[in-house]
Subunit: 746 residues, 2 copies
């Protein structure tokens, strides 16, 4: 115990390392599996090649961005005392690690897909094992890299800035260490945004394009080898749903941990860990989450084709969550002193544990409600099914209405979660609630990622003309994957809201303001502008999918028209042309929305500096962030849930569904209407919707990074920071915050 | 001049009265026109009957609401010193006047429709004259009643509470007079919400239902007499687009004037009007707007069938706006002292004039941008047209994307308008900007209302089998009407945003709080909940339309199936059954969304009273209102503009449109896809979208009404208000507000 106590800071990255070692073992196991016959290998090769081509093209563009941003960061880091040019190094490491996390996921997914197909020939149990192991590789890769990266960088910066200078762990030097570490998060989150948007545009352009001509016009099944867009569609699953999601969750995970660490610095903690226990806590919990995810993953299995896959996943998921919760109880008690205080709010270590539990409960409730709104057979999806019987338009009206409705209860839960976790442990409570929720990211991601692997496996089965029962088994996995994808998104948006709030609080502290007063005209104006950004961002993402899908439709129509014999299997379609369309469109179209997220906070933060007599630009930026957060959360839930509900409304027809006493199947008019809804929902749920949580967090992180530069303690000029003032910030705020909430007798 | 000066307060209602007299004259003129042959009269009779049946059913339900609300208001009015039971009387008058304004519009519209049809036989010039005169009757009715009602009630309450007691015009007695007057606005706005939602559900259920079976399934034209839902559809134009809109604009107009008056009370004004010039100014400008609208209306005419209707409308509109702006310059100089101050912001009378100009510019820019996003031939609509060629789904994706995009520039303009008008004249500037924008409501409404009259006229022409050129003429009017409807909505949402902000400021003053700090967890939580309300409200409204439309579709299908000979004109469809479906559905479905708007502020205001140690329930309610306003404005613009763009994308096919070098007409697949978009857009643009501005304002007014009860100066108990504290509010705030913005050297 004493050894642990003395070396805790060094043990944390080891937890991440364990995750990576297990990942390598599991990855080797997947690679060792049978990849099927030559035809299957060739198809899988096409998919892997297309995916790699996309990643390379994306990386090329992003490398320019990383270099330019790093230079700017290095320069700006030298301007204020609370930062350093080292932030640029940290940023580059974050960006590269994030890209690498995406690569790991895509690499294993393009191997696991065809091996899952082959395994599915032997039964559901084997197929689940291969696909879920593929998902686990990705989950452990992302979470392991995050814990390892954050852990090691924190040790380095802590040594450089604090230990070597003998500075206080609550002072400006520690603030500097964390500000530099924030560069890692900025790198991760900005790559995540580009990857999510780019990947999302890619996958949906291909999917929508393939469906519109293939399923609707030519009447051939999904994933039919005659459809020229089918390879692009399967590549899309990997670059969007796998690589994009991997970068996304890597960024989220890191941002959540970082926000908690930044707030933790302000806590004067009398503990056995040199006073940095509140800073170490979130990353330790994350590290433990990796270990419990490994344990939980071993529980995910079914015995035969009748096995309940959802149940197996739930068992694994809940085991790792409960183990993490249990461990948190002991870890919190071990690490933290009995009494803590942050910005005038005092709380006990037990309160911190309760805040973690609030986070877990909010996450669980969000998942349950998301499932209700997107699952087959429940009222929301059934209402869309029913409205499909009167045509395309009523199907769309139904889906939009359900999507909007689905924001109500989650918003109330979220607001209650914010207020309750704050009530337990102040702003640290809000942040640690988010960290608790994200602790089992490795498991969450494994569950999320196995879906697209199974989807791809089904595509390969279809294209290789394997027996029907193979496709039936992968379809069973894919259907479960649709639900887990929806609940995963509900989870992501909830954690983003809490993380954004924590980052918001961290920003307020560093910017030295003590309120964000909506009653001031410029703040209210900024709230409007902020709330508009998720709309324009979604518009750009959706329009990009629409445009790229149209180009895809025209290309597929052209090939059907100009290459005779495709329909009779006598000629091969030009798959690569469709792959090229998606790649080019997605790379081109991801830039502008991504730039908005990065540039707007900078423009507002610096542009309004000193413009208004007593509304600081930091306060205006705070109003902007509040607007982005609130509207991003709502639009994210709306789009994710509407998209999920439309998807499953369409799927309901596959098994046949009763409308007004008549059973309707695939091919009926009602089914065609439901396909329209599904197609509209595609960019909602896989492009713009899941980008919302990254948008919110990225804008908060950018603000946090520029906070020292626009700090009101900074007197409007870069030079000559009053160090004393800086370190006094918490005390200043404490006063304003005094009664910020009910006291902690609660 | 001296006489004017001494009797200004009595002259203001006379301006309203002049409007009403002119309205009566014009109404008599319309009634005198030829109503055509027996067949036309009979159809028009069916429409008028159905519309009246709806109004009666609606009034019956609303009368319960009015009685209950009045009792509650009377009771609560006795609890605080700044109110009185008289507020209930004021409320009932507001509700009845609003209903009456809707009735006037509907009465004239159901007369003008058939007379426009008959006039159209003689040429476009005559048809425009009849339909626009019908619109003018409605516009003058609404504006005249508002100015007359507000003017007379203000005289009465000013006499009772201030003059007869000899109290200060800036003190608590004047606050009481205006609080009681706020009851009038509450009555007007709550009837407006029910009328807009109820009418919106009615019209779109009928329209969607009629189109889906008639146009899409049976392949008969719009307004075909064989379609059982066609009478309901035409009734809908009157109850939704006319009566609903009349009540809506009556409420908006009143709320804007009221908000300015409430803020005006806080200004200590050394003028020749007993110190109440800042209170009288908004209502005087409104009265002058009525007169200038009468003048502007005389300019609206075309000479022959080749005349440009849009140009004629623009001439009338801009003349009345410019005349009002010019008059404002002199009126402001005459009324106001040179220097004024509100809550620590000082400004000159010229600054007030500039704020009015800002309002006019914001309104004009909003109209121009709305027109750009919804007009045929411009990039947005053309992009939807193009995306229709690849099917229903891409048409929907295109429309949603355009709708979201359309929020960007208007939001920036709005934010700039808020900040600039504030910069000129503080919060009074924001309020008076809205009042200036709304001054020519009579003209705006005339332009808005002639559209549905022409639409109905076209329907009657079609159903009576009149010659093609008659329909061509009414279609020309209808097409212009579609654009004016869209720009009118852009205008409405902009004025609502400014009005809501003014009401928000008035609320803050009366509730005695000095900031709405987003950094407090309960305020941020409330911001989330508030922002969610427009989503759930829209969801309910859209879902109601979807459900009612489905019932309509089934009824129409049943009639086609069970009544043989309809298609061969041998049997008459049962129109009344369809009318009954729309009536019942709309009355039933309007209640819940309306109740949300009324009850949530009350729940939050009273429910959180004293719950948090130093976050008052008033501050939490402020956060809620900010959330509602920001999200309501964005969702309103999104829905109105997406709906308008889809509508005109569909209309583009009627004249034939070139896509990829091929001209596509009505009946093509691309056209069918565009009909889907139009149908989805229907509830967006005519039910939920235009309800957003009422929702925002109504929630603000409810908050204003309960503000004295939840005031922090009220010490958490109803009894024993510290009168001194109440009157000191402005001074207290002044300090906090000191540097609220750049000083007024600007």
């Amino acid at each position: 115990m004493e050894f642990l106590q003395a070396n805790l800071i060094y043990l944390i990255p080891v937890l991440g390392l364990i995750g990576i070692v297990v990942m390598i073992v599991k990855s080797a196991w997947v690679t060792k599996q049978d990849a099927g016959d030559d035809n299957m290998r060739s198809l899988a090769g096409h998919i892997a090649e297309g995916a790699m081509a996309f990643l390379k093209a994306e990386w090329k563009v992003l490398s320019y961005f990383v270099v330019i941003a790093a230079i700017l960061l290095a320069w700006s880091g030298t301007l204020v005392e609370t930062s350093s040019w080292v932030i640029a190094v940290s940023f580059v490491i974050g960006a590269v690690t994030s890209a690498f996390a995406g690569y790991i996921g895509m690499n294993i997914a393009t191997k696991a897909n065809v091996r899952t197909t082959q395994a599915a020939r032997g039964g559901l149990a084997k197929a689940l094992k291969v696909s879920f192991t593929g998902g686990t590789v990705m989950g452990l890769g992302v979470a392991g890299l995050a814990v390892l990266g954050m852990g090691v960088l924190f040790i380095v910066f802590y040594q450089i800035y604090v230990v070597s200078t003998g500075a206080s762990v609550n002072g400006i030097e520690m603030e500097k260490a964390l500000e530099v570490l924030a560069g890692f998060s900025l790198g991760a989150e900005s790559i995540a945004l580009f990857a999510r948007v780019g990947g999302g545009i890619y996958t949906k352009a291909a999917d929508v394009g393939a469906d519109l001509v293939g399923k609707v016009e030519a009447g051939i099944p999904e994933d039919d080898v005659r459809n020229p867009a089918t390879i692009a569609d399967n590549v899309g699953d990997n670059v969007g749903d796998v690589a994009g999601m991997g970068a996304d969750l890597f960024g989220s995970y890191v941002a959540t941990i970082l926000a908690t660490m930044v707030l933790g610095r302000e806590i004067v903690s009398v503990d056995n860990f040199n006073g940095i226990a509140p800073i170490l806590l979130p990353i330790l919990i994350a590290g433990l989450g990796v270990i419990f995810s490994i344990i939980g993953a071993t529980l995910v299995k079914v015995n035969d084709d009748q096995g309940n896959v959802q149940q197996a996943l739930n068992l694994g998921n809940w085991s790792s969550i409960l183990l993490t919760a249990l461990a948190s109880y002991f870890v919190v008690g071990w690490l933290l002193p009995d009494n803590l205080e942050l910005r005038g709010v005092s709380f006990t270590s037990l309160d911190v544990f309760f805040a973690i539990v609030v986070g877990l409960i909010v996450g669980a409730l969000m998942s349950i409600i998301t499932e209700y709104y997107t699952a087959m057979g429940k009222r929301p999806v059934s209402s869309i099914v029913k409205q499909s019987s009167t045509g395309h338009a009523t199907n769309i009206i139904g889906g939009i209405s359900i999507g909007m409705e689905s924001t109500a209860i989650p918003t109330i839960i979220l607001a209650a979660g914010i207020i309750t976790s704050y009530g337990f442990a102040g702003l640290y409570g809000v942040a640690i609630a988010a960290a608790g929720m994200m602790a089992t990211t490795a498991m969450q991601l494994a569950i999320d990622a196995f879906g697209p692997i199974a989807d791809n496996a089904g595509g390969i089965a279809e294209m290789s003309g394997l027996p029907k029962e193979v496709r039936a088994r992968t379809d069973k996995l894919d259907a479960v994957g649709n639900t887990t994808a929806a609940t995963g998104k509900g989870f992501a948006i909830a954690s983003a809201a809490l993380t954004a709030l924590a980052l918001f609080a961290a920003f307020v502290g560093i910017a030295g303001i003590d309120s964000i007063d909506l009653y001031k005209a410029p703040v209210l104006g900024a709230l409007f502008i902020g709330a508009m950004i998720p709309f324009i961002f979604s518009s750009l993402a959706i329009a990009a999918v629409g445009r790229a899908a149209m180009a895809m439709v025209e290309e597929v129509r052209r090939q059907f028209r100009e290459i005779p014999g495709i329909m009779e299997h006598k000629a091969k379609p030009e798959y690569d042309k469709c792959v090229a369309i998606s790649t080019k469109a997605s790379i081109r179209e991801m830039i502008f929305p991504g730039a908005i997220a990065l540039i707007v906070p900078i423009l507002v933060g610096f542009g309004f500096k000193g413009v208004f007599e007593s509304t600081s630009s930091a306060e205006i930026l705070g109003g902007l962030l509040a607007g982005v957060t609130v509207s991003g959360v709502l639009l994210g839930m709306f789009q994710n849930n509407a998209g999920g509900a439309w998807d499953n409304a369409k799927k309901s027809f596959e098994a046949g569904v009763e409308i007004n006493g008549k059973t309707e199947y695939k091919g009926s008019d009602a089914h065609k209407a439901s396909v329209t809804g599904d197609t509209v929902g595609d960019p909602f749920k896989d492009t713009s919707g899941p980008s919302m949580n990254i948008l919110i967090k990225l804008m908060s992180i950018v603000s946090l990074i520029i906070a020292p530069h626009i700090s009101v303690n900074n007197g409007g000029s870069h030079a000559g920071i009053d160090v004393k003032k800086q370190t006094e910030v918490p005390a200043q705020i404490a006063q304003a915050e005094d009664g910020l909430l009910y006291t902690n007798t609660y």
